[in-house]
């Protein structure tokens, strides 16, 4: 029993992978290291897949890529509205990163989204996008007036939402990934062979992808709502 507790404790902590020996040592956490590995993998994949693109006779890879980008654009158009063009690339990038991060548990890496700092960073970029685009598209007055909608009585609630939205985005992703990580560790400690594979299908693949979709979808929805004009 104490064995399980020890595994849990070590799984919960954010370990330092190594330290760069400059300026008195910069600690690099496991989340950052895994993110770097994922970045290399994603960039390699991007270069590999987009090498021989032909406009007139698309191959199978190109058809798949065009389909995915088309689906992303369609999704952005649906949830953001007429000004979707500027947001689609960002949404796609975040989706690819979160999906890769959540699925990295399958490769035996520690998922970076298990670290609350990573999800907090993602949520902060989201909230900057949401309110930044509001001021960018509606102007200072229009952006401020957005807080008094649908009626001035709700101003305190709308102001509180500036903090609540990133908090809930951050905690949702972090809690889900950490929760599935802890449950997987428990299952692995109880039954080491066979059973974890079945549960990993749900907890690693299904849950990870759902959370990716939810994060991107909520960001798009909030953005679409804040840049909407009457």
């Amino acid at each position: 029993m104490s064995n399980i507790q020890e595994t849990m404790m070590s799984g919960m902590k954010n370990q330092t992978a190594f330290t760069i020996p400059v300026l008195g040592g910069i600690p690099i956490s496991e989340a950052v290291l895994t993110s770097w590995i994922l970045m290399v993998l994603i960039m390699g994949l991007v270069f590999l897949l987009t090498r021989k693109l032909k406009p007139d006779q698309p191959g199978r890879v190109q058809a798949f890529l065009e389909m995915s980008v088309g689906a992303l654009n369609h999704f952005a158009q649906d949830s953001i509205g007429p000004r979707w063009r500027a947001f689609a690339p960002w949404l796609g990038t975040v989706a690819v990163y979160i999906a890769a991060a959540n699925l990295s548990g399958l490769l035996g890496l520690v998922p970076p989204t298990k670290d609350v700092s990573v999800t907090a960073g993602l949520a902060l970029t989201s909230v900057c996008l949401i309110y930044g685009s509001s001021f960018r598209f509606l102007g200072l007055r229009g952006g401020l007036r957005k807080f008094a909608e649908p009626m001035p009585l709700l101003i305190p609630i709308n102001v509180m939402e500036i903090a609540i939205r990133p908090l809930s985005l951050c905690m949702r992703l972090f809690g889900n990934v950490l929760g599935s990580f802890v449950i997987m560790e428990l299952i692995k400690a109880l039954v080491p062979v066979g059973v974890p594979v079945v549960f990993s299908l749900y907890f690693d693949i299904f849950d990870g992808l759902i959370q990716t979709i939810v994060f991107v979808f909520l960001t798009a929805l909030f953005t679409g709502e804040t840049i909407q004009e009457e």
Binding site: M12, F174, G175, N176, L178, I210, I213, V214, F217, L218
Partner: protein
Amino acid sequence: MSVAIGAAIAVFTGIGAGLGIGIATGKATEAIARQPEAASQIRSNLLLGCALAEATAIYGFVIGLVVIFVG
């Protein structure tokens, strides 16, 4: 002992999430049975609603973990 009880109380939030997801799924099934051609749209809305409802359970879980490991 008191830590364990505190964590258990925090995880009680799961009740709300379970009820909410159950109701949402039931309604979605009804809606799909009535209008099978709108199934894909209903499914995406259901997914979003479930994720939002599930968030409360996740908050409880995170707080439970914080109570055990940090407090």
